[in-house]
């Protein structure tokens, strides 16, 4: 079941809808996330960093299990964390601090494995590559840096990034990575009104696209023909990567067209590869679902009054979806299924390095078991539903 998950910068909780039917699911409470602050950790649970007062000295990261609306685990990192990212298995979480440091935690134990000085100003976005080999970070100083995850994790000594792209003149607002691992492209958007396309294999700028307004969010077409750029003027521009673009168009070089419904600024985008849908979150608190082919809005979700600033599309494991029906009882029986909170400081003793390999294993082995029983669980689900309907009908 593909669900759309959205959060806002003012406390509106985390909205959750079924993408196919449009039915709203459980709404998770008390979440005011910064942009790029919401993440699904290995599809097992949701984690979000929280916006804090500027005066706050520590950060705030919350975990929600799928089944409970209340945040179950609260962590307080050493400094305010804005962007969060997790690798695809959900074994590690990285968070970007406002001082420019990046923190790396192990999810299963909550240990802070590493903290390194990555940027000179606050980190604004963090992205894992598809194969978890790279971490890409963008910063307030306009710098985009590419780190090799394994090097970061293993090396005790502080080491250097793989690439540092400094061509942006203002704060980086979003980064996406294409397909193809080390030879992929990355696209970065910035407050300097440009999006830049970089080559990871050659480590240089491939294309610079100037937009009519600041781009806050980007989403990549799965074929990498175009990318979508949500701008502050309320339009979603379509920019050419591999597609032909005529030099004479109204918006500028490489911009093919735009999706627009005269709404307020677009703050976040997500692309559903399976259904070919583009989701956009807006300043007015709506999540719009666009059919990319026809360029029409096919659905709208109302999230909150304030701006939506995170959208995720997660294919939620059904086993957990089922638990929702008797959420309270389920979680009470099992206790908290979530890992411990993230540690504030790294305790760098030698023994930590030894257990690392052992701890790695359970984290990765979690998912396949879920996946293998999907079909049987689906049937069980249906049977249960039918039984319930039958019994309720009988009662009436």
């Amino acid at each position: 079941m593909d669900v759309v998950i959205a959060s806002s910068s003012i406390d509106g909780g985390i909205g959750c809808w079924d993408l196919q039917t449009g039915a709203e699911q459980l709404r998770y409470k008390t979440c005011a996330s910064p942009p790029h602050g919401l993440v699904s950790v290995g599809r097992r649970f949701l984690a979000s960093s929280q916006l804090r007062d500027p005066s706050a000295t520590s950060g705030h990261v919350l975990y929600w299990s799928w089944s409970k609306p209340q945040a179950e685990v609260k962590s307080f990192p050493a400094e305010p964390i804005k962007p969060l990212a997790a690798d695809s298995e959900g074994s590690y979480i990285v968070g970007g601090g406002s001082s420019g440091d990046i923190y790396l935690w192990e999810v299963a134990t909550g240990r802070l494995l590493k903290k390194w000085h990555a940027h000179y100003r606050a980190v604004t976005c963090l992205v894992f590559s598809e194969d978890n080999s790279l971490v890409i970070s963008g910063s307030d100083d306009g710098c985009v840096r590419v780190w090799i995850f394994d090097d970061v994790r293993r090396q005790q000594a502080s080491h250097l990034y793989e690439y540092s792209f400094t061509e942006h003149t203002l704060c980086v607002t979003d980064i996406i990575m294409g397909y193809g691992g080390g030879s992929a492209i990355i696209v970065s958007a910035s407050e300097d009104r440009t999006c830049k396309v970089w080559s990871l294999s050659r480590g240089r700028l491939l294309r610079n696209i100037v937009f009519p307004s600041i781009i806050d969010a980007i989403a990549l077409d799965p074929g990498e023909h175009v990318f979508y750029a949500g701008s502050r003027d309320g339009k979603i521009y379509i920019a050419a990567l591999n597609a032909e673009s005529s030099p004479s168009n109204s918006y500028g070089l490489h911009i093919i067209g735009s999706l627009s419904d005269h709404s307020k600024a677009v703050t976040c985008l997500a692309y559903s590869t399976e259904r070919n849908l583009l989701l956009s979150g807006s300043e007015d608190g709506m999540v719009r679902v666009w059919d990319v082919k026809t360029q029409n809005i096919i659905r709208m979700f109302r999230h909150a009054k304030g701006p939506v600033n995170n959208i995720l599309i997660v294919s939620r494991p059904l086993s957990l979806g089922r638990a929702e029906s008797n959420a309270q009882g389920f979680s009470r029986r099992h206790g908290s299924s979530l890992p411990p909170p993230l540690e504030k400081y790294a305790n760098s003793t030698d023994e930590d390095m030894d257990n690392k390999a052992i701890i790695n294993l359970p984290a990765t082995s979690n998912l396949p078991t879920d996946a293998s029983y999907l079909s049987s669980q689906l049937i069980n689900d249906h049977i249960k539903e039918l039984q319930q309907q039958g019994s309720s009908a009988a009662v009436e």
């Binding site: 000085h117 100083d141 502080s158 400094t166 203002l170 492209i185 009104r193 240089r204 597609a243 032909e244």
Partner: protein
């Protein structure tokens, strides 16, 4: 008989006839005449005949056209008879007396030719060459090319000149036949004649290479290169030198050709430079050869890789790249060759040293030669150190390639003689020349420093020179000396960051002091300044290394603060005259803002630059605003300077004021204006700007922005060149959206309410008032949050405002489009009031009361307390009131609201009616017109709205 006569040493031998051909016919003796006879028919279609007497035989030459020449031989009839008589006496020597002519034999053939006309069809001046490209002398390209191999040097030269001439007139001719041309011309590269070579060089330089620049040069070049190499090994030294010049030319037009032939070329240079007997004599030629060498060597990859290539323009991102060979391939094999060459160059240099000492003065040519030698060594050394030798088999070329002979040669023969100084001090010019040479030697030394491990003594010698050079002590103080200094000091600068971090504190401060002085003293627009700036960037901004020492040494810090303080001043000094230099400074400032966080004292300095930067934007003195260079810089520089603003973590009010006045300047491009708002807002979001400052920035923009033309006329949106109305509308939109993002709108509203109402009561222009009303309603909600006091203030303001709107936007009669356009324009200004009406009935009531009272009470007329600048007499006031009410009634929603206030409307109607009756000076037409609209108003006002239209009918989309 033939043999005998042949051996006759006749002085008249003009023609060397092919021997076997002529011999055979005579072997048969008597047969000859018949043979001749058989040939004779040729003469029938002869075109011209000429007869030569040669060795007492007659050769008649028959011209058949210009090409074919047939020789027929006519044998003297006497010769065979003579032979018959004196048979037996072979080899009889016939004595002849000089000066005496033999009497013509009796049976001599008369060789006189008489003809009426000579017809030379091919060589005729009248040849039809129409349509063919010809030179000034009427020769075609083919003919000219033939003539280039003429045995006469003058003809060859003329032919080359002819080709040049022809190509100038018919460039297409060269493009068509370029391979034919080059194939023929290349033979002349090793021409014996100097003049011809020179002419060829000029031809290549001016016509052929530029003409063939765009197409496939590889083939073209390879055609030439074989002949150039040939000429390089020629025995004649002149031809060889010329060959180097030709090669130089080829390299200029096709740089990759050096990498193709690098080894061979270097060998040739080495060979020629070894011949030291000539170069001391002919320095002019040596000079040009060395220039060529410098040019070739400068093509070596000697910089660290990583230079930015051009980004893809139109191409698709994932398209395949054309498989071009990279520029750096093929250079690794020449390391050995190059080393030999460097040794030869060092010897060359050494040969010059005694010459320098003996000569009274360093003349220009020797200077050029030495400089070129030194530059070549410098480039080679750089190639050894920084060149990309990855392809070479050696794992680390640095250790392997530095063999001891080279190093010792360099350090002893070259660095040992440093510094060069004039023996006999004669002229200032000489000083400068020695200065330049010393600079190049210093450069070589600094490159080599790590490999030769100099003694402290030597090192100090060079450091001292550097310091003096930076301070400008070693250079003459004349204008030319100053220019030389500015030109050559930049080459020393790149070493400073590294040196500073490695030398002792004492030298460190010396060098930094000298560097800072250089930076301060040089012309703001000079390249030296730019070089200084890039060095400052290198020393200020940590490159790559994240763990730059937090506590950088105090010595450097002092100078760093000086540099940073200097930057804004430099920016103002540069003004708008040197945009490229300004761009560099701005870029440095931006980088500083982005990366200065690693050092708290630097960030402090950066923060402080904003006070100096105010002047860059604008200054306010005695009420007048003086715009800084920002306003006149090109757009990309403006953008850069705007970006710098974002990184001030404490945006000073002073700077914001300066920027605001720039924003209000009508000359500022709308694009830049919007960028400023965007960046300022982003800075606010990042917590760099105080809330109050930010609010007042917006309010100032809205209230003080000058919209022109002042009275609104219903112009179309396309007429942007005469009006900035559209810009102001987008500005209003932008400010509204920014304000709505600032947080809880009710709080923002509370803060803004008083400020806006105060400003509104000052009677701003219509557009400004409209913008402020729009901000107000955007933040307000239904029912209104306005306080009692502000409602009263608004009710006093609105009648005047609305009447001004109606007055300023004249009603149009005519076609539908114009009318609807007019309504649209009015609606933009009326809409905020409608919103206010909708949200507060109290306001409507007060508003209508004020309207009514202003009509009746002329003493209390609107101008006394409101902004009617235009409406003066009661008549026009009456007219306007009617049309305003009509406009208000056009909106269904407002109509509904108005229906609640029948009594107030009724009283207004009454007063209008009474006014109208009392009005005397009104023409019939006016009266009629007024009556019509008044009747319409009566109907509209009395009919209550029946159609219910929901809230959505009023929306800001009407804007």
């Amino acid at each position: 008989m033939w043999v005998g006569s042949y051996s006759d040493p006749s002085p008249q031998t003009l023609f060397k006839l092919p021997r076997p051909k002529t011999e055979n016919p005579f072997k048969g003796g008597p047969k000859a005449p018949t043979r001749l006879h058989s040939l004779n028919p040729c003469t029938r279609w002869q075109v011209g005949t000429r007869v030569f007497i040669l060795q007492r035989k007659l050769y008649s030459i028959i011209f058949l056209g210009s090409q074919t020449v047939i020789f027929s031989t006519m044998v003297r009839s006497k010769a065979p008879s003579k032979k018959q008589q004196k048979k037996g006496i072979d080899f009889k020597k016939i004595k002849r007396k000089l000066g005496r002519k033999l009497p013509p034999p009796t049976n001599a053939t008369n060789t006189e030719i008489k003809s009426k006309a000579i017809v030379l069809p091919e060589q005729s001046v009248a040849t039809n060459k129409e349509g063919l490209a010809v030179s000034k002398k009427g020769l075609t390209l083919k003919e000219l090319l033939q003539q280039t191999s003429h045995h006469n040097a003058k003809v060859r030269r003329d032919a080359l000149m002819g080709i040049k001439d022809l190509v100038l007139k018919h460039p297409a001719e060269l493009r068509l036949h370029r391979y034919a041309v080059i194939e023929k011309l290349r033979e002349r590269i090793s021409d014996d004649d100097k003049v011809v070579r020179e002419a060829l060089y000029q031809l290549f330089k001016s016509e052929i290479f530029p003409g063939c620049a765009e197409d496939n040069q590889g083939l073209f070049i390879s055609l030439v290169m074989t002949y150039i190499f040939n000429a390089m090994t020629n025995l004649s030294i002149d031809i060889r030198l010329m060959a180097f010049r030709f090669f130089d030319l080829v390299v200029q037009y096709h740089p990759p050709c050096f990498s193709l032939y690098a080894e061979k070329i270097l060998q040739s240079y080495e060979d020629i430079l070894r011949k030291n007997q000539f170069y001391l004599e002919d320095k002019g030629k040596l000079k040009s050869t060395l220039y060529g060498l410098v040019r070739c060597l400068s093509l070596l990859p000697s910089k660290k890789p990583g230079c930015q290539k051009n980004i893809l323009g139109e191409r698709k991102i994932h398209a395949f790249e054309p498989d071009l060979p990279t520029e750096n391939t093929g250079f690794s094999v020449i390391i050995k060759k190059l080393k030999e060459l460097v040794l030869v160059l060092i010897n060359c240099f050494q040969d010059f040293i005694p010459l320098l000492n003996s000569m009274p003065q360093l003349d220009a040519q020797s200077f050029d030669c030495i400089l070129s030698i030194l530059q070549s060594i410098d480039i080679a050394v750089r190639f050894f150190i920084y060149g990309n030798h990855e392809e070479s088999p050696e794992a680390n070329p640095l250790q392997v390639t530095w063999d001891q002979t080279l190093l010792s040669g360099l350090s002893k023969k070259l660095l040992g003689v440093f510094p060069l100084y004039p023996k006999h001090h004669l002229s200032v010019k000489e000083d400068d020349r020695y200065f330049i040479l010393n600079i190049v030697i210093t450069e070589i030394f600094l490159h080599l420093r790590e490999w030769i491990c100099p003694s402290a003594n030597v090192f100090a010698k060079f450091l001292e020179f550097m310091e003096n050079a930076l301070l400008g002590k070693t250079c003459s103080s004349t204008r030319s000396g100053k220019a030389t200094w500015e030109k050559h000091v930049p080459s020393l600068l790149p070493f400073i960051p590294k040196l500073v971090s490695e030398v002792t504190t004492d030298w460190q401060s010396h060098l930094l002091e000298a560097f800072t002085k250089t930076f301060r003293d040089c012309n703001p627009e000079s390249s030296l300044k730019l070089a200084c700036l890039s060095m400052i960037e290198e020393m200020l901004i940590p490159r790559g290394d994240m763990h730059y020492t937090e506590a950088s040494d105090p010595v450097a810090l002092d100078y760093q603060t000086i540099w940073i303080r200097e930057l804004p001043l430099l920016l103002i000094l540069l003004g708008d005259k040197w945009p490229s230099s300004s761009q560099v400074v701005l870029h440095l400032l931006l980088r500083l803002g982005q990366f200065a966080c690693w050092n708290s004292s630097l960030i402090w300095e950066y923060e402080n630059t904003q006070f100096a930067l105010c002047e860059f934007y604008s200054t306010c003195r005695e009420g007048n605003i003086y715009y800084g260079p920002f306003m006149r810089l090109p757009r990309d520089s403006q953008e850069l300077s705007i970006c710098c603003l974002y990184y001030f973590s404490n945006f000073s009010t002073l700077l914001l004021k300066a920027i605001t006045s720039c924003c209000l300047c009508p000359e500022l491009e709308p694009y830049v204006l919007f960028r400023i708002i965007e960046v300022v807002h982003a800075a606010y979001k990042a917590g760099h700007i105080q809330f109050a400052d930010h609010i007042s920035f917006f309010i100032t923009l809205l209230s003080r922005f000058k919209v022109y033309p002042e009275n609104i006329c219903p112009v179309k949106e396309s007429d942007v060149q005469i009006s900035n109305c559209g810009t102001f509308k987008s500005l209003t939109c932008m400010v509204c959206s920014c304000l709505s993002q600032m947080g809880d709108s009710s709080v923002v509203f509370r803060i803004l309410e008083k400020a806006i109402l105060d400003l509104i009561s000052l009677k701003p222009q219509l557009d400004n008032a409209c913008a402020m009303l729009r901000v107000l309603i955007m933040l307000d909600s239904k029912p209104t949050r306005l306080s009692e006091q502000s409602i009263i203030a608004l009710s006093n303001f609105l009648p005047g405002y609305l009447m001004d709107v109606v007055h300023c936007i004249p009603e149009v009669d005519g076609n539908e489009v114009a009318v609807s356009n007019h309504v649209q324009t009015c609606r933009y200004y009326l809409l905020p009031c409608f919103f206010l009406f909708d949200r507060s009935n109290q306001l409507v009531k007060l508003f209508l009361n004020v309207m009514g009272s202003s009509l009746t009470d002329s003493s209390l007329s609107l101008e006394s307390h409101n902004s009617t600048q235009y409406v003066t007499d009661s008549l026009s006031r009456m007219n306007i009131t009617v049309s305003l009410l009509l406009l208000i009634y056009k909106d269904v929603k407002v109509q509904k609201i108005m229906s609640l206030f029948r009594t107030e409307i009724g009283s207004i109607m009454q007063s209008i009616a009474s006014l109208q009756s009392s009005e005397v000076n009104m023409t019939i037409e006016e009266r009629h017109k007024f009556q019509c609209s008044f009747e319409r108003l009566k109907i509209v006002a009395s009919s209550s709205p029946v159609v219910y239209i929901d809230d959505a009918s009023i929306s800001l989309s009407g804007a």
